[in-house]
Symmetry: D2
Subunit: 141 residues, 4 copies
């Protein structure tokens, strides 16, 4: 592992991405190897306007983002996503999301991180999607 | 398999989703079990403005959408994504994408579809991402 | 959810499979929605005899088995694996494995379970592989 | 890409693994970036003796092996599996399997390969499982 990145710098990288600005994602927590990200609701995230269901691609995007910054916080460099997998547990609904991600392992070629997308539904926090991603780690840089 | 959905009806479902309107996705081809989708460029899709790299979450979203409509075209009903996996082969760049998806198998509980996101880069069509998704098939409806 | 299956019956199903007999897997713990499985070492599991590294296919098999019985314990019926994903965190070595699996969610079409393959290496319990599987749930049967 | 490995050397690596000897896998075809592997039937591969269904873990193992040697043939070095995903399209039955695998992309950190497990069932070749794996590529060695 090379130098870690502090929260201010990570926040600045997070906010520099036009897609992140569109989503409005921000850090709620930022630790070494673990992040909590918040994402507000906006109409463009819906796949079904009538039933107010969030698009699965958005949930995968949130998994990707959270996993990426969990790895970045531990590795201290940009870490391109190598592959991403999302399991959809229940529909995402109108309203904000929180996404928690944690590094499972930093290896020689890649790092693996787990993420969970959660949302309050009917007064209860529910797990909406589980994701896992592999991120390229270049120790040469 | 129940009744299939014709292109006009599928196009209308595709266009009814606010996130699809944001992306501007349209069918270039629509067959039974196979679709070709086009997605234009817009600035909000970028993860890195300077290097003009497309966000991985967008590529996963395109995989999800294409796989979904490939299955929908064969099954004839809405088919919620159960899980989604994307392998990122090279960075997506400024410019439009085409996404081809094909059904691998329609089973009793789920259908599996493969999708490939392609883009012209330096005068050549390149494979940017490969994805595979499982979609819930409810034969009861 | 239909009738759950008790430990004795689950053990009998587990032991009825020739591949499970080959592996020698047994339940160390068996709860509703959660199992702990043990797998002893044998030479045929190696991919590299000299370095004594366990074959990745064996680790995926252990993930599949543990996830399957976690779901079976909750759902109370045979639950065919729909898809399986394994992340290899470090090489598996000569010696026994324990695999813990837990159901994440039982849905209408499928159930999702997480599994972790662990092993004592150099005096410490190490996470060797993480896996997640989708299992078909037929509520009609 | 470094030096490729010829068929004889690849065959010797394939046969050196105790688990491969147990399975009895051999190359039917071996090209740069593409292999065809054959696996005979044996009783220990079954998950359900009565219905003569092959264990899903065996199918995942075959995906892993085929993908690994497709990458090895292109990269010319041992390539540890980073992650593996298998979609089960239909049950594997008593009888031999053929597994075709092809490299999708060799990147800086990892290579991606696709594999398909096929089997003759009721006089027709059927696709039994689709798999995709990521394999670590160390250009430093």
């Amino acid at each position: 592992m090379t130098n870690a990145i502090d929260r201010e710098e990570a926040e600045s990288i997070l906010q520099s991405a036009p897609f992140h600005q569109f989503l409005g994602v921000t850090f709620a927590e930022y630790e070494n190897g673990k992040v909590l990200i918040e994402c507000p609701f906006r109409e463009e995230l819906l796949v079904n306007e009538e039933k107010e269901i969030i698009h699965g691609g958005i949930l995968s995007s949130l998994v990707d983002i959270a996993g990426h910054y969990a790895v970045l916080s531990a590795v201290g460099a940009r870490v391109p996503t190598v592959d991403l997998r999302t399991d959809y547990l229940r529909p995402g609904r109108r309203g904000p999301f929180v996404i928690e991600a944690e590094v499972d392992r930093v290896g020689r070629n890649i790092a693996v991180a787990d993420a969970e997308v959660r949302q309050e539904q009917r007064g209860e926090m529910k797990s909406v999607a589980l994701g896992r991603g592999s991120y390229g780690v270049s120790h040469v840089d």
